[in-house]
């Protein structure tokens, strides 16, 4: 049996966030679809869209809708074929007993956020709540949440599966207050699956196979999280297991939220995509609207019945 050599570029290093892909590979689902898949981790200063566009990688799990928009605008020949995180994976966190109790308090607070996508979520939230960010103190956020823990920062950005875990263990969940973007009228689907246009045009069946195997991998993951965590710990043994367990629980929630709750994993919810797109257009992050229909191609996910994309 001739296997096609392909690769998947992740947005970051191996962790429970990506375990479904490892699961699919371990179970041989990709091979079943004729794919000899290599999973390449990401890293700082690596852009998944870029590597897929140049053909260095076949598939990618890229930053999110925002990075897909940017890539399309710059003319990179890629297409989004599925969205993993149906709701914004970020939350904004303040101290329960601190000065920031409601979103209006952001006005006089010191806020840090990542200028790699999360900033647009914040901007959208602020705009939706009639807050003028130009007069606010918003700084780039470093890797560490310690400035927040130490009280130098009032509002910090956290991924629900990673930094929030650190905050919980260091400050205690009861001492934290979360601002969830969806509660403030903003949603940024992230962790987008992308493929190079040339490859998709030449091998639509392989793209389809990749999609099928991936979905199966994730469903298996949610069906036996213990085994999934074992797998990821094997992949990256220095990780902390409790953290990974927490991460997988959160990832499960995020991946099965919104439209996916009904239609299944990797659903492309064009409404959510359009609203995110509108925010970026409004903020002049994008020079103008892009052709969303060309950038997001649902055919591969849609070809898999929803029932087969949902846990039993």
């Amino acid at each position: 049996q001739d296997l096609e050599e392909v690769s998947l570029r992740l947005k970051w290093l191996p962790q429970a966030q990506f375990v479904g892909f490892y699961m699919a590979k371990a179970k041989g689902y990709y091979e079943d679809e004729g794919l000899d898949l290599t999973i390449n981790p990401g890293g700082p200063n690596l852009l998944t869209e870029n590597l897929v566009a140049t053909g260095a990688d076949t598939f990618g799990l890229s930053g999110g809708t925002d990075s897909v928009f940017a890539a399309i605008e710059k003319g990179l020949p890629i297409t989004c074929i599925g969205i993993a995180h149906q709701e914004t994976p970020f939350v904004f966190v303040s101290k329960a007993d601190g000065p920031v109790q409601e979103i209006a308090d952001f006005k006089d607070a010191s806020i840090t956020t990542w200028f790699t996508g999360a900033n647009y979520v914040l901007f959208g939230m602020l705009a939706a709540n009639d807050l003028d960010r130009s007069s606010m103190n918003i700084q780039p956020q470093q890797v560490s949440v310690t400035p927040f823990v130490d009280g130098q920062v009032d509002v910090v950005t956290a991924t629900r599966y990673n930094e929030y875990y650190s905050l919980m263990t260091r400050v205690g969940e009861e001492n934290l207050k979360r601002f969830v973007p969806e509660d403030y009228g903003v949603s940024f689907p992230r962790d987008t699956l992308i493929v190079g246009n040339e490859f998709a045009a030449e091998h639509p069946e392989l793209v389809q196979g990749f999609m099928r195997a991936t979905v199966k991998g994730w469903l298996d993951t949610f069906a036996d999280k213990e085994a999934a965590i074992d797998l990821i710990m094997q992949e990256a043994p220095t990780l902390e297991r409790p953290h990974q367990e927490f991460m997988l629980d959160e990832i499960e929630k995020i991946m099965l939220a919104g439209a996916a709750a009904e239609q299944g994993l990797f659903t492309i919810d064009m409404d959510a995509v359009e609203s995110a797109h509108q925010i970026l257009v409004d903020y002049d992050v994008l020079g103008g609207p892009i052709d969303l229909a060309a950038a997001f191609d649902s055919q591969y996910v849609d070809a898999i019945p929803s029932a087969e994309r949902l846990p039993e």
Binding site: L47, T54, A70, P140, Q142
Partner: protein, 253 residues
């Protein structure tokens, strides 16, 4: 008749310029001929054009990075020379400090970056500290070699004139070590900028590294290359200035 291939020819400068231009020409040609998209390799002309359109951003970033690099460079230089001096004046320290410094140097500086970022935050201080760490060892080694060159007989001569330790340090040890200290300073210029940029790319509020990082996120590779060019020019400029100072200060070579 005795042609020495090691000595520079009178065409050295012209040849250097020619080499650079040839490289740029090949680069430009390749980019245009194969119609390479900018995320693979932008044409030189495009990059240079970007210099102009993004001059404000790039200039500000270069100044920011140079500021960090310079501060770290001076701090690291001072630490390196001070350590070398301590080792020279208190010989018992040598057995402790030299191996310790060597061990610390064996660890890639970047390995310290997470710590330094965690300890000193994302602002300029973390960059300054990183550069200082990177520069101080080179400076320590150079300065120590310089101080070790001090001829014991010269020290004895000064002592025979009744000179104090301070006088010997000031009038003999420091000037003797100066050529090596300065050559260490010269070698450290480029590294200080690179370390500043690398650290910026891991988290910063500004600077060339930050510009590069941001440009990658918005897939603007022309900007990435323009920033790299600026970094190169800044490095070469820094190097040239220190070389000039070196020639001025160590006139007796």
């Amino acid at each position: 008749m005795t042609y020495d291939p090691m000595s520079p020819s009178q065409h050295a400068l012209a040849r250097g310029v020619f080499g650079g231009l040839a490289l740029f020409a090949i680069w430009e040609l390749a980019a245009r001929l194969f119609d390479l998209p900018s995320y693979i390799l932008p044409a030189v002309s495009e990059i240079i054009a970007r210099f102009w359109t993004a001059r404000a951003v790039l200039g500000e970033a270069a100044a920011y990075t140079l500021g960090e690099a310079l501060a770290g460079y001076l701090l690291g230089g001072a630490i390196g020379v001070a350590l070398a001096l301590a080792v020279t004046l208190v010989p018992q320290l040598r057995k402790v400090i030299v191996p310790a410094a060597t061990a610390v140097n064996s660890v890639p500086v970047v390995a310290f970056s997470p710590l330094i970022l965690l300890w000193f935050g994302m602002g300029v201080s973390s960059k300054i500290v990183m550069v200082a760490v990177a520069v101080s060892f080179t400076m320590f080694v150079s300065a120590l070699a310089g101080f070790d060159r001090v001829d014991e007989r010269s020290v004895n001569l000064m002592r025979s004139f009744g000179a104090s330790r301070a006088a010997i340090l000031w009038k003999l040890r420091l000037p003797t070590a100066l050529p090596l200290i300065l050559s260490g300073m010269r070698l450290s210029t480029v590294r200080s900028l690179i370390v500043a940029i690398v650290t910026e790319m891991l988290g910063a509020y500004g600077g060339l590294g930050w510009v590069i990082y941001q440009a990658v996120i918005v897939i603007d590779f022309v900007q990435v290359w323009a920033a790299i060019f600026v970094a190169s020019i800044a490095s070469l400029g820094f190097f040239a200035v220190v070389s000039f100072l070196e020639r001025r200060l160590v006139f007796w070579r």
